[in-house]
């Protein structure tokens, strides 16, 4: 792992430890837990989009598979939550494998539409198969997770658990990136033909990373199910898949850290907006939560038009120029002293 990634990990872990004390309120800790779920799914998606250069507008489906596997296996068959989560991940990987082989032969727009169609089918099935999924009524009474005999029943405990999962997921992602597979994926992103000519089995690599990213999404779905204890098809619609792509794109496609930054920022955005709405009201502007979607689309559009590398790359570039400025100011002073 590169030095700056280790610094990144240290900053992330420090933030994770500090945040609960900074916000102090169970509601905001809940928001941060949801941010962790999105983060985990986005890390997987970033491996697919940022490194292999393949788009998927269908990852909401894998989240749904994880959530439903966890919900149904624990409530209907009485499996332990951990086994159910593993089973969900394997199911998601199997489905990703079957769908991925024909789908990843397609490129660009075709791949985007094919994955969107897949996500839409899964959502329709989740609503329509009432005898299995419970249909719109959903699955109730999903048990909580426990770890080493320690029940994760408070928000704070679940918060630390969810973010630990994110850190582990991030660590595994970095291992993949800095392996032969990771370098192969980057070559595919650069030019698929050139990568193939250099001896990389491009088709197999693309399917592999698709399967891995599906596993991330599935685990994120399972963690979601164990946290809210109730699932219905609502949150797993096509819009959620689009939202995940948005998070990865806003943060930055070219780095996993971008996915983390994008997922956290966009997960917190509704809270930030409702917070500023109070101030807007003071100066006479009525802000309604309905406008959130406009702000969301606007942010995505502006970033894609003016900062296509994403916020993370923008932050790095901004930080560098500030640092250069600081250096110049300091040096300037030295010249004056001399």
């Amino acid at each position: 792992m590169a030095a700056r990634d280790i610094i990144g990990f240290c900053i992330l872990i420090a933030l994770v430890l500090v945040m609960p004390h900074a916000v102090g309120n169970d509601y905001y800790i809940g928001v941060l837990i949801f941010a962790a779920f999105n983060c985990l799914a986005c890390i997987g998606l970033s491996l697919l989009m940022g490194y292999a250069g393949q788009i998927s507008l269908g990852h909401g489906a894998f989240i749904a598979i994880g959530a439903y596997a966890s919900g149904l296996l624990t409530t209907e068959l009485g499996w332990s939550p951990w086994t159910a989560m593993a089973a969900g991940a394997f199911a998601a990987m199997g489905i990703a494998f079957i769908v991925g082989i024909p789908a990843l032969r397609l490129k660009g727009h075709y791949l985007a539409m094919a994955t969107l169609g897949f996500a839409s089918i899964i959502h329709i099935v989740a609503v329509a198969a009432t005898d299995i999924t419970g249909g719109p009524a959903g699955v109730l009474n999903i048990p909580r997770l426990s770890l080493f005999g320690y029940r994760l029943d408070s928000d704070t405990r679940y918060y630390y658990f969810a973010w630990t999962a994110v850190v582990i997921g991030l660590y595994l992602a970095f291992n993949l990136i800095h392996s032969r597979v990771g370098r192969g994926l980057r070559a595919i992103h650069g030019s698929e033909d050139a990568a193939g000519a250099a001896g990389i089995n491009t088709a197999a690599y693309k399917v592999q990373v698709f399967v891995v990213s599906a596993a991330y999404a599935s685990v994120s779905g399972s963690l979601y199910a164990y946290y809210v204890n109730y699932i219905d098809p609502g949150p797993f619609d096509v819009m959620h898949s689009v939202l995940l792509v948005t998070m990865v794109a806003v943060g930055g496609l070219h780095h996993v850290w971008g996915a983390v930054v994008g997922a956290v920022l966009l997960s917190l955005l509704p809270e930030v907006l409702s917070f500023t709405a109070g101030y807007l009201q003071v100066i006479g502007i009525q802000y309604r939560p309905d406008y959130d979607i406009l702000v969301y689309g606007g942010i995505l559009l502006v970033i894609m038009l003016f900062l296509p590398e994403g916020l993370f790359a923008g932050m790095i570039a901004g930080g560098k120029s500030v640092w250069n400025l600081v250096k110049r100011v300091i040096r300037g002073k030295q010249v004056v002293r001399e």
């Binding site: 989009m49 250069g53 788009i55 024909p102 789908a103 032969r105 397609l106 490129k107 660009g108 727009h109 075709y110 985007a112 539409m113 094919a114 969107l116 169609g117 897949f118 839409s120 089918i121 329709i124 099935v125 609503v127 329509a128 009432t130 096509v238 819009m239 689009v242 792509v245 948005t246 794109a249 496609l253 309604r288 309905d290 406008y291 979607i293 406009l294 969301y296 689309g297 606007g298 995505l300 559009l301 894609m304 038009l305 296509p308």
Partner: protein, 299 residues
């Protein structure tokens, strides 16, 4: 029993044509932009929604005459299409496919959000174009609105063929679709053709939205599924081939209505998507394209 079966089938056929005509028009909209730019416009479904909702406001709230309201609604969505191209597609230099996809997704989120803020979350009722009672044909009923839809589809197809075969602008657009560099060398302003393709595509989407609204009662969130199924029709017909899209759209609509009637109405929405995935995976060039042409394209 025999009579009952044919009556049922006829009824599903009418329903299928009514749905299919909309998919066909959405697919034509996809094709127009695809031919000019190679982009799949993810906001295509939103054009349909905007057209329908605008028409609701014009006729139900402002009480304008049908013809005038129709023209205002189409013009409004056309302007939206032009603005989309000028503000978000035109300024991007040397774009990657991923970036273009996300840009059109962003526009679709914005349009959907705007529609939700203006028209609210409920679905909107609009009266049918004519008040006549349903016609009975061999025991099956056909709504006058369905006849309007069939008529509009026929008009759009005739207009499309006439425009691309008999007008200079249409021929220029075709030239751009075949080879943009060569068209530019021949003195065609290709950027203007791209703008025009967005305008026409938005207009066709708006027409589809306007004629279907009395039947489905439009709401802001319908764009995604309409767009996806329209794309399915475009794929089945061979992307870029608009006459193929019309046939494929009608076919998808009829299969969907039939499977809704005979198999399960719950899974009806998934049928068109499953067919779309099947064609994408097995024969991405569409059912009607020659395999020779398909080999030249990249998927």
């Amino acid at each position: 029993m025999e009579i009952g079966l044919t009556t049922d089938m006829l009824q599903f056929l009418f329903m299928g044509i009514q749905r299919g005509a909309i998919y066909a028009m959405v697919a034509m909209g996809f094709n127009m932009i695809y031919n000019a730019t190679g982009i799949i416009n993810f906001a295509q479904g939103e054009f349909v929604v905007l057209g329908g909702l605008m028409m609701v406001s014009m006729t139900m709230a402002l009480n304008l005459s049908l013809v005038f309201a129709f023209m205002v609604s189409v013009a409004f969505v056309t302007v939206v299409g032009i603005l989309m191209e000028r503000l978000t597609i035109n300024p991007v230099r040397r774009p990657t496919v991923l970036r273009l996809i996300i840009i059109t997704i962003a526009v679709s989120i914005l349009l959907k959000g705007a529609a939700m803020c203006f028209w609210g979350k409920g679905s909107h009722y609009m009266r049918h174009f004519t008040d006549a009672p349903p016609l009975e044909i061999m025991g099956a009923y056909i709504l006058p609105q369905t006849l309007w839809i069939i008529g509009m589809l026929a008009l759009v197809v005739i207009g499309y063929v006439a425009f691309f075969n008999y007008t200079m602008t249409g021929k220029c657009m075709r030239a751009c679709a075949i080879n943009r560099d060569a068209a530019r060398l021949a003195g065609i302003n290709d950027r203007r053709m791209v703008m025009l393709s967005f305008a026409l595509s938005a207009a066709i989407g708006a027409i589809a939205g306007i004629i279907i609204t009395p039947i489905i009662q439009m709401d802001y969130a319908r764009g995604a599924l309409l767009g996806l199924k329209g794309f399915g029709a475009a794929v089945v017909g061979g992307l870029g081939n608009s006459m193929g899209a019309v046939v494929a759209g009608l076919l998808l609509g009829i299969i969907e209505a039939g499977s809704g009637g005979y198999i399960s109405s719950h899974y009806m929405d998934a049928i068109a998507l499953v067919i779309m995935l099947g064609v994408l995976f097995v024969r991405p060039g569409g059912l009607f394209g020659s395999s020779e042409m398909v080999r030249l394209k990249e998927f």
